[in-house]
Symmetry: C2
Subunit: 150 residues, 2 copies
């Protein structure tokens, strides 16, 4: 069994999409994150949902979550405005190093996929074809299902 056989379609978003589009896609897909692709359609990184929240929620509220109870509806509207005025690229901390991304080749074995997921502490890996185009993704639960059955 190779990565291509385990990969399932997974939502991708462009680096230049606004954050609201990315957040809506995560919500609609019920996904914990999205695969971010560059203009060349190659995967750039994986955007975890918590990073959207990290961008949205001011640092002082993260440090003292109980402060969030005092947030007015108006303050929340201001936060939401940030979602449309920034792109996915703005959320990403630094240019990603392709060697250190949860991405595997379509011919990777299941143990190789497991090794990448373990190393990257990622709940999913993107699977790419010979042209670095995204074929889909493998989640940790899908991988475990296969490993335990084999």
């Amino acid at each position: 069994m190779r990565a291509r056989d385990l990969a399932k379609p997974f939502a991708t978003v462009s680096l230049e999409a606004d954050v609201l589009t990315a957040a809506r896609l995560m919500a609609a897909e019920g996904a914990p994150g999205l695969i971010v692709c560059g203009a060349d359609e190659r995967p750039y990184t994986v955007l975890p949902g918590s990073q959207v929240l990290n961008f949205l929620i001011p640092r002082y509220v993260q440090d003292q979550p109980a402060l969030a109870r005092a947030f007015s509806e108006r303050a929340w509207d201001d936060l939401r405005d940030r979602l449309v005025s920034h792109t996915v690229r703005d959320l990403l901390p630094r240019p990603a190093d392709i060697d250190e991304l949860p991405i595997v080749d379509q011919d990777a074995t299941t143990l190789e996929v497991a090794a990448v997921m373990a190393r990257m502490h990622s709940p999913l890996v993107a699977v790419v074809d010979g042209h670095d185009r995204v074929l889909g993704a493998i989640t940790v639960s899908r991988l475990l299902t296969h490993l335990l059955a084999s």
Copy 2:
């Protein structure tokens, strides 16, 4: 809207369960992780699926995933034996600090939940009642769905 209204039932596992049981539960639930509870049924931490793989896959294979292609079926059987001979407690790096866990009270507001998720970089938070018993969990996609609709 409070945390209790957003929480959905979520798989929990005991600290003393063997790792195979935990891995099977993640696979069956399609979940990226599990809530780990102590003998008193209070949440102890969240176990991400990648941590199971991290335990299972030797460090030298994680460092060089291509080495996994050379793994024989026999070697894989040996790895699987580790799953039944260790408990969830063995997987956890250190006693968890209850202040630094992705856990919220049932009365937490949605923004408070978002703040905890952002701070902990967690794709889910456990929701507990007044006796610290697990009511369920809120995933990042469910939280985003609510935040974007409100």
